[in-house]
């Protein structure tokens, strides 16, 4: 009897200890996975950007990016595509979100549009590119319609689906829906009473948006735009399938560099990767910070 009681008291702290140990064992696969497939691969690139080929510390790799006109141009085009699709996607996405949230449309419409946005925001990449080629490519449906029925030649207008603006148009296909999905909850947070109070006090629709709507929304709006920017910046498959490996954006440059070491300089590749991590990292950090500010109103 005493032996059992003693065994029980001994066993109890032992069991508690082992439950924390068990918990740590339980999360070990996650941390091993994170180290092997997220943290080490990133560290090796960041580290490689700051050493030369024989391993001595240097800033030369980063300097070399700025010396290479093709790489500078690739960064500039990437930033331009990302900026245009982010701002364009944000404005058009806001308009669509505003329509389905505040536009008094039939009730079935909002879930239908939301579901479609979920699909479209995940429909990036190769299939999207080919769908655009099939519709506004040289032999695409819309191209033929325009020339057959309206006599408008897209080519004569200087438009090509495999050009800068073709890529922008394709990117908007996933950027606009992403904006709708992020901004719709923020629009829900605009309380009806604010609008009613403003109207009672004699505010016009414009006054309301200028003094209440936009000031409340702006952290969410800027935050979403930044997220859209990062989303476009890291994308490659859509542009690659649409415009080919010669389209000069930084993701495609890095892809070509990994494929064939076209720059003949391993560490320059690391520096290109570092530049991308810095840009997407800053954008995402900004997004998270602004989202927290925006959420103050939606609570």
């Amino acid at each position: 009897m005493t032996a059992i009681a003693a065994a029980a008291t001994v066993a109890k702290p032992a069991r508690r200890l082992s439950s924390t140990t068990l918990a740590l064992i339980g999360v070990t696969p996650f941390f091993v996975f994170a180290l092997m497939f997220l943290i080490f691969p990133t560290i090796i690139l960041v580290f490689g950007a700051f050493v030369d080929q024989s391993g001595n510390p240097t800033l030369n790799n980063i300097y070399k990016i700025f010396q290479n006109p093709t790489l500078v141009d690739a960064y500039v085009v990437s930033l331009k595509v990302s900026l245009i699709t982010a701002v364009g996607g944000a404005i058009l996405g806001l308009a669509l979100a505003q329509a389905i949230v505040l536009g008094n449309l039939p009730r079935w419409m909002r879930p239908a549009v939301s579901t479609f946005c979920g699909v479209a925001s995940n429909f990036a990449g190769v299939p999207l590119a080919f769908a655009f080629i099939a519709s506004i490519g040289p032999r695409g449906l819309l191209t033929l319609w325009l020339s057959d029925y309206l006599g408008i030649s897209l080519r004569a207008l200087g438009f090509s689906v495999i050009s800068f603006w073709g890529v922008v148009l394709a990117y908007l296909f996933f950027e606009i829906p992403l904006m709708v999905l992020i901004i719709a909850p923020a629009l829900d947070g605009l309380k009806r009473e604010w609008r009613e109070a403003a109207t009672t006090l004699g505010a016009t629709s414009l006054d309301y948006w200028r003094h209440i709507g936009l000031p409340v929304l702006w952290p969410s709006l800027v935050g979403s735009t930044v997220l859209l920017f990062a989303n476009s910046f890291g994308a490659i498959a859509t542009a690659y399938a649409l415009a080919g490996p010669g389209f000069n954006i930084i993701t495609i440059q890095l892809n070509n560099q990994i494929r064939g070491d076209v720059l003949h300089d391993q560490n320059l590749g690391y520096a290109i990767a570092l530049g991308m991590i810095v840009i997407t990292g800053v954008s995402n950090g900004l997004y998270i910070w602004l989202r927290e500010r925006g959420e103050r109103w939606t609570r």
């Binding site: 449309l105 995940n122 099939a134 519709s135 993701t251 494929r259 991308m276």
Partner: protein
């Protein structure tokens, strides 16, 4: 408040035209394979070639990605909620990393870290590269899987379930995989369908690792027949749609069940 929906209608109609344009275009183009008439020839060709192999390969990798994600994420979320609350910010930060680091950068890191002369030559053989691709996809899916399972497990009284099961003599693996997992089944499924859609459309990583996934096959198919590529694009869109529909269905199921549990 019933006024001014005209602008809203215009916005929705313009959006509908823009979003339907590539889909209608792809559908029409895919039927044009035989000159002069509309036919399903492109689909016939697609289904009689290696499409099935590549589709099977992508599907198997997607299912394995889901399985590995569940095995890694479910215990992590469980222990973080129950015993290791202080680890939550670190875990959440890690799960956001795949959204911050572009896929092309991640795969570059893998190729450098696991090249054939490294300590772990995961790019050394076909099987090892498949495994590397699998883990790469687990990384891509991590933000979505973690979020789905974490929000699912918040709606379940993890502590009570654990204590009840343990007092009946259940071992810890039994608790996690036979008690907790079935309770967050719909959350897991909703994350799983999203993962399936992401893996099926992935191109960047598989292309650089030279694995014959659906996206890579699609680019090759376009080289010799744009009609087949259009047909495959439309099939990919329908599969994405099905996955997202199922995801929403199971997501909704979870929220609807919340007050009852």
């Amino acid at each position: 408040m019933k006024k001014s929906s005209l602008g809203a209608w215009i916005a929705v109609v313009i959006a509908a035209l823009y979003f339907l344009m590539p889909l209608v275009g792809a559908a029409e183009f895919s039927l044009r394979m035989i000159r002069g008439i509309y036919s399903f020839e492109a689909y016939k060709v697609v289904f009689s070639t290696v499409f099935e192999d590549t589709f099977l390969f992508s599907s198997v990798i997607a299912l394995l990605t889901i399985a590995v994600s569940v095995l890694i994420v479910v215990p992590t979320v469980y222990f973080v909620q129950l015993r290791l609350r202080r680890l939550r910010p670190i875990v959440e930060f890690i799960t956001l990393l795949p959204l911050v680091i572009p896929a092309i950068v991640l795969v570059f890191g893998y190729i450098r870290l696991y090249n054939s002369s490294s300590w772990l030559p995961l790019t050394g053989s076909v099987m090892a590269t498949n495994i590397l691709l699998l883990f790469a996809y687990v990384a891509l899916a991590l933000p979505y899987m973690y979020r789905a399972i974490d929000s699912g497990m918040r709606t379940v009284d993890v502590r009570t379930l654990t204590e009840a099961a343990e007092s009946l003599g259940a071992s810890l693996p039994t608790v996690i995989f036979h008690i907790i997992l079935p309770n967050v089944r719909s959350a897991v499924l909703s994350g799983a369908f999203l993962t399936f859609a992401i893996v099926l459309g992935e191109f960047t990583m598989a292309n650089l690792l030279n694995r014959p996934v659906f996206g890579v096959y699609l680019v090759d198919a376009n080289e010799h027949s744009p009609y087949e590529a259009a047909a495959l694009s439309l099939i990919a869109f329908l599969i994405t749609w099905a996955c997202m529909g199922l995801m929403q269905y199971f997501g909704r199921d979870r929220r609807a069940a919340k007050p009852g549990t």
